[in-house]
Symmetry: C2
Subunit: 392 residues, 2 copies
Amino acid sequence: MTHLVAASSVQDVLVDLFVLLLFAKLGDEVFRRMGQPTIIGEILAGVVVGPAVLGWVEVGETVEVFAELGAVFLLFWVGLETKLDDLRDVGATAGLVGALGVVLPFAGGAGLAAALGEEAAVVVFAGAALVATSVGITSAVLSELGLVSTPAGRTILGAAVVDDILAMLILGVAVGIAGGGGADYTSLLVSTGLAVAFVAFVALGGTRLVQRRPGILKAPKFSESPLLPAVILCLGLAALSAKIGLAAIIGAFLAGMVVAETREQHPIEEEVAPLYAFFPPFFFAFIGLQLVPGEYTDRSTLALLAAVTLVAVVTKFAGAWLGARRLGPREATIVGVAMVPRGEVGIVIAGVALAEGAVSEEFFAVVVGMSVLTTLIAPPVLRAVSRPPAQS
Amino acid sequence: MTHLVAASSVQDVLVDLFVLLLFAKLGDEVFRRMGQPTIIGEILAGVVVGPAVLGWVEVGETVEVFAELGAVFLLFWVGLETKLDDLRDVGATAGLVGALGVVLPFAGGAGLAAALGEEAAVVVFAGAALVATSVGITSAVLSELGLVSTPAGRTILGAAVVDDILAMLILGVAVGIAGGGGADYTSLLVSTGLAVAFVAFVALGGTRLVQRRPGILKAPKFSESPLLPAVILCLGLAALSAKIGLAAIIGAFLAGMVVAETREQHPIEEEVAPLYAFFPPFFFAFIGLQLVPGEYTDRSTLALLAAVTLVAVVTKFAGAWLGARRLGPREATIVGVAMVPRGEVGIVIAGVALAEGAVSEEFFAVVVGMSVLTTLIAPPVLRAVSRPPAQS
């Protein structure tokens, strides 16, 4: 039985979702009992049931939507724990971390591809694929370690937003170059302006609105609790965010921040908790699901994977560390490590590059491998470096 | 803008889900303020945003899975409120209601088609399409009226299980006849036996197991609460149920009954509540989404729709009422009305018939129309007949 599913009918998808959730939580269970970061267990569960090993679950539209909603509810949850004022305090540092954490990895990835003699489109996609941090993964780890509301945690979240806007810009340029026509800088400028305006408008206007009308989520009669109005806001901002070219999770994070301002935070968190328990395992397992079978046996591919992963780790750590330097060495190290996981973002960019016909299957497999590796490396290291200094 | 979505990418699906949830809850809100049954508001919202009117949301795999999960969490919830002993008390009556509520509508549907001179395959599908009750719709209405744990409510739930097993059998015969080879009675006998064994094994064995080990859902360390283990059980039994030819929701209902036996019922219900709030609106809106545009303008189609709907209502009410007679006239009337909604079940059967090439587009449109109409009629009537007798 190589395929439990054909991913065609609703029943088969139901089986897929069941298998994914069951194995993700088994992976969680095993890693928890070993005292290891649980999201690694969930990602590895995805590797095991996915095409790379057992092939029980295939990547289909619905599974991908569940993964996306996993990231959405993860970031909504993190947003609920974040106050706008806290982010404002770390604004300058977060901007610097975001910017340097984009520039260095881009230079590293593009430089590596150029050194290997690749053509322009591959060079620019190699740079783009190394750029973006997976704020989903990072947030989950910060949450597990209780670091979300530390200065380092807030810096990371702010930087991730900056990071995502820059990544959107770079991806736009890359797609333009791959298309042969060069980048359309006017439309890029417009979409960047739109993205910045969206973030600023929701973060400032949205929070102010609910500060003035804290009962707004309780206005509808269809629900005794503010949960569904809050979830509708979350989905709406996530969809809008995706429509203007940002990651959907940016919208979800902003929605969480807005809802947090209703000051009914605690009851809402209790009610969001079941959704936060249900969806995110699909997100983690999905990352493992995307490893390409049969691509990681060739020695030259493995060498390339090692080189790309090394460049990805070093450049992101260095950029973010430099940006966060003024927080002190321990905090800067935490920020540097936390920005390393590429998670789903690297995979998405590699997927766009593959769809554009700009890169090879091997390139895609290497970027996916790098994304999974950086995602697996970061949690244990972050746990080690964030441990409070030993008392003596 | 006739199509907000192309239903191709993940982002578009995210927009679909947002639009569906938003409008379903707006429909709920409007009907609640008018003092009308809220699920009607949600179904009509699906009609409005669906292909029949605005065309903003199309029926795609993921939307269908969300609808299915809506029914699954609905029945899981109802299962949580149901004790096996309560069902056993009404067993004989429920069996009679289920059986008569299948035989009469089948005879009515098949008889009507035969009277119109249709060929054998159409006759048998017309009978099959009128058979099954939408226990999802019925449960939601029972819940809203607080009738789940009355004798009538329990009889309806038990009858719905019997009903679904018989409907599976009839559909199997219909597909066999449509295929030209006649029905394969051996395999039908096997799958019916399997279905009965599954229901009996889970209902009896599962509940006994958790009665002996009430802490079993708290055994995994990955979750502090029993929610995720319970949800995994629910998805697993739903998927298994679908795999052996029953409706997925039968498995979900049984899972709810099993989980209810852990005697931790109340905290679990609180935690399931957000999932129960989130998913079912997709189920209700989805029913409205399936109305076929442009099919309901022809006068002869409308006449056929009226005739089929009349036969569907009268035969189901009469069969269920006869079966429930010994509960007394008021309770028998409640049971009769509650069994009338065909909801998604009639639509599924018509879809199978269309896929088999056994029936016309008009037949499909008429059955969908009948399903939606029976579903819209039942809630207000049920509310009226279930009102306690006026005190004077």
